[in-house]
């Protein structure tokens, strides 16, 4: 096999092949791989600003494992993911199935669902921040009408993370819905027709036809949603005031990385935090790749 392939490709074809790959490969190396390696190196250093560093050994990691704030942030990140990911997946699936029907005004509905994806995340977070304001916000005004007393959406340390989750779920549904619709449309209509002849109701059809056949797409959605959830940053940054109790109970590892690297100018420690985040995401993704055999049907 190997020999045949070698002779099949002529040398100049190989050259052109590599040349066409070059832009992407160079982009990956310059923009992704090198910075990642630099970050790992930086996590073993103490930075004095402007890229100047001195080697610090394991000092950052020793400090990190004793730092209550890091553990709290890891806990926040896990809480955020555990609550938001199932909600995102279920709602996206639900929306995708509904949007896959032949109903009136389908384009309008699809547009409405995709809008949060198109809007800039910071602008979205700003508007939610106004809506959630405990004194002047629309949401509390409406709640007051039905007799629910003012909720401190953004400043109550025990509530703030759920506020961020609401916004996170709302903004993620549209994108995942599009992916799932694409997956749903791959399923041949004959399956449903024969299922109907055999007397399967819509619920049975969903669980025995739709779900197994859309599972490769669903798997992709689950993996990327979890990764995105673990990297949550912008909505926290925009909506919660820094250096407060609410922030302490809301901040994700990604935010903590930002705080140390860019507010407190401690790039070494910030890098160590982000390396921990990377390891956590790697482990979770590895587990998912193992588990996929159990439920994904290719």
């Amino acid at each position: 096999m190997e020999k045949i392939r070698r002779t099949k490709y002529k040398k100049d074809q190989v050259f052109w092949g590599y040349l066409f790959m070059l832009p992407t490969v160079a982009g990956l190396i310059i923009l992704n791989i090198k910075p990642a390696i630099d970050t790992i190196i930086m996590s073993f250093s103490r930075s004095t600003g402007f890229g100047n560093m001195t080697f610090a050994g394991w000092a950052n990691y020793q400090k990190l494992f004793a730092d209550k704030e890091v553990w709290q942030s890891l806990l926040n990140t896990i809480l955020y993911s555990v609550v938001s990911v199932p909600l995102i997946v279920v709602f996206s699936m639900l929306a995708a199935v509904l949007m896959n029907q032949k109903i009136k005004g389908l384009t309008l509905y699809r547009t409405l669902y995709i809008l949060p994806v198109v809007a800039a995340p910071t602008a979205v977070a700003m508007i939610w921040k106004w809506l959630f304001n405990s004194q002047f916000g629309l949401i509390n005004q409406l709640l007051a009408k039905v007799g629910i007393g003012p909720v401190n959406w953004l400043a109550d340390p025990n509530t703030a993370i759920y506020t961020v989750i609401i916004v996170g779920v709302w903004s993620a549904i549209g994108y995942n819905m599009i992916l799932l619709i694409a997956g749903l449309q791959e399923i041949p209509a004959d399956y449903y027709e024969s299922a109907e002849l055999d007397g399967a109701g819509p619920v049975r059809q969903f669980f025995t036809i739709t779900l197994p056949l859309v599972s490769p797409t669903l798997f992709f959605v689950v993996v990327t949603t979890i990764i995105n959830a673990f990297q949550v940053f912008d909505s926290i940054f925009m909506m919660i005031k820094s250096s407060t109790d609410a922030m302490y109970k809301t901040q994700s590892l990604a935010y903590l990385f930002y705080k140390y690297s860019f507010i407190l100018n401690d790039k070494g420690y910030g890098s160590a935090i982000v390396v921990v985040l990377l390891v956590v995401i790697l482990i979770i993704t590895a587990i998912q790749l193992k588990l996929q055999k159990k439920w994904v049907h290719y």
Binding site: T24, G49, F50, A155, K241, S243
Partner: protein, 423 residues
């Protein structure tokens, strides 16, 4: 998805080529050629006035153009650090004492002793305190730009409605407390004062008024758990917790004190003189707001701070940058800063122009310039931001009633000592 990397790269390459082209035209520092200097600042309220100063300089030096870029404070330092690390620091930058140490100690700023020796400016002309903030190992690295003080901004209309006489600036802590109580009307949702976890405009002032200490560059030790500091923090927090003259801490996290003052929900706030332009530009505040000196504790005190103008040590146009810096340092430019109401210049004795500019709108605006006489310099260390972030977090817990003053102060003191020991 696959194409994104390629498109991104091509765009980057194209942009790189364009930047490369535009740079090659201005690479020389020949004075007869046209040169464009970059100038970084953050305050949009000052930008209008600064443009006039730049225009004057450009008139006098037709071959030099100054391109000012105003970046909001929240992004200014992140951007500045990235640009500096990448070798693209603007030629002239506005400096703040929170960050100056890092830039000075890493050799990113041009020492100014040679220019001073040449007679381009004399550091004796400027506020000694501010000049000291930008000194590292006995060398000056920046020209003091302005001085700032803190005062009480109050809503005259709310005072009238509550039948409380307006403050004349000679008040004590007890009188301030009593005034705030009279102004508070929970039924209407109006509060006398706003207790915040802001350092410079908030709790630092009360600490200094009580004779307390914060931290000190020279000692490598914090004084945050000094009994006088703790006492001041307790009084400050009690305004919110016991007297309940302030909206609670959670409200202030969502809506800043300035918005509450502007919407008539809070009658008094403590804030800097740099708010004058913004207050005068807003028709509600221009009509309803005035200023008073901060109340006296054991002594009269306000936090003073000052910005400065510095020059990149790696500028491509050192001659032109020096020329512009010399102009910014001149009495003429400082007089313009004052007269245009940009800020109270750090150049000694030029504050009157600033007062005259705002006197018509805020009758007692002199209070800010008077404050210079009893001002205490904002604490400054090798890592001010780390110390201050910790202090803000703990004071935040204190004013929301989740921590005692003693415990909060101890935590801060311990944290600051660790930070300073590691420098």
């Amino acid at each position: 998805m696959k194409h994104r990397g390629l498109v991104g790269l091509v765009t980057t390459l194209a942009a790189g080529l364009l930047v490369g082209c535009s740079n090659s035209g201005s690479g020389s520092s020949d004075t007869t050629k046209d040169v464009t200097l970059s100038f970084a600042s953050w305050d949009p309220d000052q930008a209008k006035g600064l443009k006039k100063i730049i225009a004057k300089f450009e008139d006098d030096n037709p071959h030099i153009k100054v391109k000012m870029e105003t970046t909001p404070w929240d992004q200014y330092w992140t951007k500045m650090e990235a640009a500096t690390t990448g070798g693209n620091m603007p030629d002239i930058v506005t400096m703040h004492s929170n960050e100056s140490y890092k830039y000075m100690s890493n050799g990113m700023l041009q020492p100014l002793e040679d220019m001073a020796k040449k007679g381009d400016f004399d550091f004796d002309n400027y506020s000694k305190d501010v000049a000291q903030l930008y000194t590292y190992k006995n060398k000056h690295y920046a020209i003091p730009k302005d001085v700032t003080t803190i005062g009480v901004w109050y809503n005259k209309t709310l005072f009238k409605q509550a039948g409380v006489p307006e403050p004349d600036g000679s008040w004590t802590w007890a009188e301030f407390e009593a005034t705030a109580k009279k102004l508070t009307d929970p039924a209407k949702g109006v509060y006398g004062f706003a207790v915040t976890s802001d350092p410079e405009t908030g709790y630092y002032n009360w600490i200094y008024q009580n004779g307390g200490k914060i931290f000190d560059m020279t000692e490598k030790k914090s004084h945050f758990n000094d009994p006088k500091t703790v006492e001041a923090l307790q009084f400050y927090a009690d305004l919110a917790l016991k007297d309940k003259v302030s909206p609670n801490a959670e409200v202030l996290q969502e809506t800043d004190q300035m918005s509450l003052l502007q919407s008539g929900k809070v009658a008094m706030i403590t804030h800097g003189n740099w708010m004058a332009s913004a207050m005068a530009a807003n028709s509600y505040t221009a009509k309803n707001i005035d200023v008073a000196a901060l109340p006296k504790g054991k002594k009269q005190a306000t936090v003073t701070n000052g910005l400065a103008w510095a020059m990149s040590s790696k500028t491509k146009h050192p001659k032109e940058a020096e020329k512009f810096l010399k102009f910014l340092a001149s009495k003429q430019a400082n007089q313009m800063q004052s007269d245009l109401g940009i800020s109270i210049p750090a150049y000694n004795g030029l504050g009157q122009g600033w007062v005259d500019k705002f006197k018509g709108t805020f009758a007692n605006v002199d209070a800010f310039v008077d404050g210079l006489d009893y001002g205490v310099l904002r604490p400054f260390s090798a890592n001010t931001i780390k110390s201050e972030t910790l202090a803000n977090t703990e004071v935040g817990k204190l004013i929301s009633g989740k921590e005692t003053a003693t415990k909060a102060a101890d935590t801060v003191a311990k944290g600051i000592d660790e930070t300073l020991a590691n420098q």
